[in-house]
Each structure stands twice: as C-alpha cells, then as structure tokens.
Symmetry: C2
Subunit: 238 residues, 2 copies
C-alpha cells in the first residue's frame, strides 16, 4: 500500500484521456446607444476566419487561477482589466470543438468602451460588434449559444441590480444608465421608479460634476464599492 507521496510522485496527467480545456469571455460594453461585445477573428484552425469570443488555454506557468487566464486573454485584446468579471457557465461536450471533447469555462465581463478604445483599434483582428448585428457574423464553435446566454443573464441582472453600470465610464449619468437598462430589458422604464430605488439604496455618489449635451445638465455619479453586490428585493417589470 503506497503513501500519498509515492502516489503523487508516480502521477502523470498524460496517462489519462482528459478533455481539452480553455476559457472564453463575453465582454460587453455600451456605446452609441447600443450593447456591443468584443469578437476576435480567428487566425488559426479550427474555425479559421470565423469570429469567436476572446479566450484561450490555461497557461499553467503564468496563471494561478482561471480568473488569471481570462484576465490575461482580455488584456491581450483590450489592453486593460475589466472592472466587472463574473463566471457565466461552463460548456463541455464531445462535439463543440472539432479537436474532440472540449470544455470552456465562460465569463461575462463589462467594461467602458472609452477606456479600451485606443488599444482595440490598434489590434487588427478584434472588433466591437453590436449585439443586434451578430447575425452578420459567422461565429465559431458554440459561441453564439454562449453569447445568447450571457445576454440573457445580463438582462436579468438589469432587473434587480446596477451591475450594467460597469459597462459605462467611471463617471456616468442616471439617464445614461437608464438607457442601458432599457436596451438590456428591451422596454422603456419609468424614470421615477428607476431613480427612486437607486437613491434609496444609496448606491452611487455624486461627483459634483455635471454633463451637458442637450437640455438640462445631468449629474455625474460614481459607483460605490458596495453597489456591485447590491440586489433589490423586487424586480423591475419585464
């Protein structure tokens, strides 16, 4: 009967027939009154020349956790770390990748368009694609299914949280956030209801600044640290 030490010394991962495993990120932003997401045009097989989510394989040397892997991949494409990153779901089956049994741990990330715009334009195979124009792109693997699921989850979150605010710049206005929520839910919202719940929960702080576009200037707010995890007890009407 061997002890643990001997077992571990004799252990070789390549003795086992294990699936391929990677990560993918659905990185959303809000720009030009549209929900957009980052796509990458594949330069390699398989699904070469199709569009896909930013993602890749774990680097056992440089990555200590799965989050390290996603953040590294997102940084390669955008040049920055997103302020919001949450695990979405893991997809794993025998058919999703032509190379065989494969697993991808998927994340939803949110970022302001502005903060990563400079880097994104400098990378040739990367594009912000409006969610509503996805049908113009040929997507590789099962990435359309993943994107659809991420979109649905983000819609749900917009009903009971202010998490979508992470898709805006650090300083943002309430009408701007409300517009984003309306795009996510696909219906207009009552201004009063929307503002009331945010004010009562004390989620944002007034920066003291205003922004004028047309009409009365809007107050610029900043998120408080607590606001990411705050959930309202009652959902907005769908």
């Amino acid at each position: 009967m061997k002890g643990e030490k001997e077992y571990l010394a004799a252990y070789n991962i390549h003795d086992y027939d294990i699936p391929l495993v990677g990560v993918d990120a659905v990185l959303f932003t809000y720009h030009g009154d549209m929900l957009k997401l980052l796509l990458v045009e594949r330069r390699n097989h398989p699904d070469k020349n199709k569009w896909a989510l930013p993602g890749g394989f774990v680097d056992k040397q440089s990555d200590k956790t799965l989050e390290d892997t996603v953040l590294r991949k997102i940084q390669e494409k955008t040049g920055v770390e997103p302020p919001y990153l949450e695990q979405l779901k893991t997809y794993g089956n025998a058919l999703r990748d032509k190379r065989g049994w494969s697993i991808t741990v998927c994340y939803t990330a949110l970022i302001s368009h502005q903060v990563c715009a400079p880097h994104v334009v400098s990378v040739s195979d990367v594009a912000w694609v409006a969610y509503d124009e996805l049908s113009n792109y040929s997507l590789g693997f099962d990435h359309l299914e993943i994107i659809t699921h991420a979109r649905e989850r983000l819609k749900q979150k917009s009903l009971y949280s202010v998490i979508p605010a992470y898709a805006l710049p650090q300083k943002f206005t309430l009408p701007e956030l409300q517009n984003l929520h309306e795009v996510l839910i696909g219906k207009p919202l009552q201004k009063k209801s929307f503002r009331r719940r945010i004010e009562q929960a004390g989620l944002f702080e007034d920066t003291g600044e205003k922004r004028t576009e047309k009409g009365r200037p809007a107050t610029l707010y900043r998120m408080k640290d607590s606001s990411a995890c705050f959930t309202f007890v009652r959902n907005l009407e769908q």
Copy 2:
C-alpha cells in the same frame, strides 16, 4: 499553409500542458427536518480517508456532455437520477489539488431522501450528512468552500422560487415545503405569504390526496413542469 483537415490530423492533446479536469456535485436533500448532503469517504489518494463530494473525471467514451458525467457519478452513489441538476460554478487553480493545476465543474443537485435511501445504505463509503454537522467531517480539497457556496445559492433560490421542492418527494405538503424554506433561510416565514404566492402563480397541482400526521390532514401537491423555472418578482424577507 495547412488546411483544417491536416491541422486536425496532426493535433495531439498530449502535446499541450493542460490542467486536470473533473466534476463534483453538491447533492442536497431534506430529511428529519434537516438539510443534508451526500458525502463520500475517499478510498484513494490524494486526500485519502477524508470526505469529499461525489464526483470524478470525464469519461470521453461514455459521456457526451458534462451533465452525463455528473449524472453518472451521482447514479453510482445513489442509484438514481436527481430531478434537479444545475451548474453551480467552476473552480480552477494551481493549488486546490495536490496533483497540480486542476479544475472542477461543480453542480448543485436536489433529490428526495426516500427515493435514493435503499441504494445509499448499500454503498459503504457514502453518507447523508446534515449541513449543520459538517464541522465533524474532515473535507478534502476545497470542497467545504464549494458546499458553502452551493448552500448560499440554494438559500437565495428559496427566496424567489420553489426549486427546493425538488429536495422533497414527488408528492409533498405545503407546510413541509415551508419548513424546508425556513431551514434554508434560517428564519420563520409567514404561512400566509408563502402560500399566497404559490397559489397565485399556480405552481403546484392538488393530487387530491391528504396526509395526516398530527392535527388536520394536509393536502398533497405535485409540482407542475413549469414550476422549476418560475421566479417571483419579489423576494421573501431575509
């Protein structure tokens, strides 16, 4: 420049340094007025003789999807398929397993105690453990963290859904379900509020049968198919 066919022919997964990957299930049930979960005493290294979640590695031949893998593992220990299975989260990092970089795709499952009792008693290294008595067990890997997270998610679900009903037998009474919710939330609930929302949403159907223990007999209900995905717009008080 190679085509996809040539690429795939030359592809060998063992050329890459990929992490170990498996699945684990937090299988809850409700029995004797307690929330319990299934633990397995490990017979092999690593973490030999410690308790762990039922789980294991993907079998690329027999499993077509990750769900197949979990269901197979749960069936090995309980003899049955749980009526509720949902992905919880994927844990992956360099340190959680002594064998090196490892990933586990975790699921939450619910089942009635009764339906798997016969098989569970026949398997020697498996036990239903009350959640509140977990501290008496030495758990392997990061399974305590996983269990804690699954417990928290189940509590949240009990605030806005009737998903905990899957931890009861097919036919169950409303007071029985309310007790389970109270255990999950850790607070007494208003009988009227609890029943009202279920009735208004039309989630259950009356079996016509009654069950008498002490006092007035309680109506036995059965879940409708739709009730798994139904969510109330408003949470119960925490």
